[in-house]
Amino acid sequence: MRLRASIAAAALIGGAIAAYLTYVHYSHTVPICVSGGCETVQKSKYAELDGVPVALLGLIAYVALIATTVIRGIVPVFASVLIAFVGVAFSGYLLWAQLGPIGAICQWCVGNDVVIAIVAILCVVRMLTEPTPAE
């Protein structure tokens, strides 16, 4: 129970970051930024995936992760690990883009990287330790 609550709490933080960046995207406002590169990153082509803001995809992913914490069973556990792993892989790609082609760092993206990494670790622990209802 505590593990699921931890996953939900971390996903909530990640979801808040994603929701803020989604708002910034659609409102065409400038994100609050201390790293200096947020706007450059937000306006780069890497901020969208075939026209869909990656922040919105992240928000959907975090909502799905939270949903998996309220359901018991191996299917939601597997789904949470899969979503978290995809998140980690895609965040890694976006981090590479910031360090390489874009040449600017967005603090919100780095914050998301940390959150999704924590969520992934917690989801793996959950998969390895949580008993299924049948067990």
Partner: protein, 230 residues
Amino acid sequence: MDRNRIYLLAAAGLGAVVVAVVLIIVGIGGGSSGTTTNDGALVLPTPSLAGIPQHGDILGKPSAPVTVQVFEDPQCPYCREWNVDTLSSVVANYVKTGRIKLQYRGIEIISANSVDGLRAIYAAAQQNKLWQMVDALYARQGEENSGWITPDLIKTAATVAGADPAKIASATSSAAVNTMLKDSVDAAKAAAIGGTPSFVVQRPPALPTQLQLAGLDPASFAAALNTVLQ
């Protein structure tokens, strides 16, 4: 430890890699839109600028009562998007009809390579081909920070824009270009521009107003512009 869980974990890892690779491929492929010519450059559905008065960085009739400053960076994908999706309708509905004139305000947002493009753009202004040059550069826009704005690309873009490439090359460091660059930076500071594209509407004696856009599409732009023009 349950061996099945280990297998599931491995399957999730494998599945995640597949999904992530697909997403990345979609991301790379979806980075640009438009049709391509034989020389690989994108053809932008920009308006025919023929017949529309152009003087320096101004597009439109000098008598137009309202000036809309267009703040752009030639490396900025969203600026290109606005040029592709919206500039045509703005020119047709507002510039051609004499309601507004557009003033190009090039500023460096992405990197120093942007300045190479801006110098070429302002050099084209000396031949009253600035807006065609902007178009021609967006048609060839490359990866941000990849150094795509090269002397060769500028030469090609200048030719396509109908400008004299040799004159552009010799004017990029001229005093006139330096002045236009400085004017743009000063205007951006005065209007507190934080990113591109941004649009500032000025109808003297009223103070300049930055357009608050819900989107860069023609409908959103027209709605915001109409609000200010009322």
